[in-house]
Symmetry: C2
Subunit: 329 residues, 2 copies
Amino acid sequence: MSLRLGELSTPSLLVDADALDHNLGTLAKALPGPRLRPHVKAHKCTALARRQAALGNRGFTCATIREMEGMAAAGLGDDLLLANEALDLRRLARLDARVTVAVDSEETIAAAARDGVREVVIDVNVGLPRCGCKPERAGVLADRARARGLSVRGVMGYEGHAMPVEDRAKRHEIVAQSMALLGKAHADVGGEMISAGGTGSWDLNTWATEIQAGSYALMDTAYAKLGLPFRQALCVLATVVSVSESFAVADCGLKALGMDHGNPTIEGARVWFCSDEHVTFASEARVRVGDRVRVQPAHVDPTVAYHEWLSVVSGDEVVERWPVDLRGW
Amino acid sequence: MSLRLGELSTPSLLVDADALDHNLGTLAKALPGPRLRPHVKAHKCTALARRQAALGNRGFTCATIREMEGMAAAGLGDDLLLANEALDLRRLARLDARVTVAVDSEETIAAAARDGVREVVIDVNVGLPRCGCKPERAGVLADRARARGLSVRGVMGYEGHAMPVEDRAKRHEIVAQSMALLGKAHADVGGEMISAGGTGSWDLNTWATEIQAGSYALMDTAYAKLGLPFRQALCVLATVVSVSESFAVADCGLKALGMDHGNPTIEGARVWFCSDEHVTFASEARVRVGDRVRVQPAHVDPTVAYHEWLSVVSGDEVVERWPVDLRGW
């Protein structure tokens, strides 16, 4: 492909080829093969997942049934874990893939058994107020699952409350506490799998048999504060469409940006606010209509979910265009 | 269609059929025919736009080129206004539609002329720091546009800074000030069109020849505070997938909700936080795994842009399913 950056329509998601290679390579080396189970929710892109698989990390974590379907259809179904609870799993029974599903209640176990799922993990709450059973209940649930004919591969528990903690020692402490709970549950559950962790604990979590990191591939402004060995790889390319005396407006707004972490940033500029299709900002340097600007979203995952394409760029060249093909549910 | 609400997969966008009919009917009656130019950015759905057209409002406002393309392809191209500036308009030249484009600079006029656009409006900044030229510059830009062979239909100016003002008298005052500026620009520009307004000023803006309201169709929690005669028509249906002692978790998260106005609400519950695919909440009533809950997004437009379908419901019945077919750019 000989497309130049200037020929891309805007807004467009850009992935820096070098940063992506660095991020994928770094973690694949540190956590080879089944030690890393990349989470696809961060990028929702089978072409990017194929890169992860090519580096040896062939088991994947998914957040939605659509992600499971897409990964299986792309031939990346060696070992797919749906790391969320769901009550209608019928679409999973049809997949040409090894499918494992998280369960944390009688109801989710019943749904898995009824809908033809064969393998499950017991999802354990290790401190984040979200899904997962109490650690002391994991053994009972494993027994119930086995009694229904399900194979229990082990446990899963996400120490998400540790991720935003900037102090590394403190973060390590929370990871250790969380994994003590998960280890206790695992002793009751059995199985070979202890699945946990994320980008913020990739090297701190030495208890899990596999790490479910996702954000490391494209990175995030929140994770950037943790001093991790991964580079910011993603931004949104926008075009300045209007300029006034004190501000300028580019074509990247609320429908092109995950906004739960707040406004995006633009280097050398102060962002005033976003509208549906616009960002209004004041730039230090002079800006002209037609200029291109790079908008850094505050949160990557819900940003990617708005876009149809990822354009992989090297300098001024668009080297690949990948469909964001795992969106929706 | 005989689909029941309980058979819908989640998360699903629901539109209340009665509320939608009420909203569309109310404004079509107050602003018949060309007095209302519905903005499609709020719903991004040609099936819904077809309803608006059937009520007599056959001219539409669009925010993106994709919206213009989709509306033209759906046979709704009688009179489409791209109410945003853009610098690459080549895709518009191919449309089977009457196409008018907003311009606010030499550069956007040059782009329109170069790319085969025939009709423009001069976009005037009437107080909101976004696009639009200074009022005193509108006449000069109209001359430049005409010199390049473009037909200038008139002026456009969005008094968006008036919309969040809850006090009606104060809101009216801001609308009046804004329209005084737009009227002055119109005197210099000429043409038959003064396009302005929105859901929050639908009856206050008596200066515009046409009102560009969009949110009135599905409504919004922000607009709900203004005492407008429109009903909340939209929510996201979610399934409770996990329950703990003090909280529950449903499958509607950051990728199913516009978050720029903050957390969504759930009636009878307190929302704690959202994750990518989850909302964690504490409910007053007992909640069980498998229960369905209705999640009210804080901002409708960027919520709709995440979803592929709108399910129109009447009581427990899904009466229609409409693709959200105007997403992307």
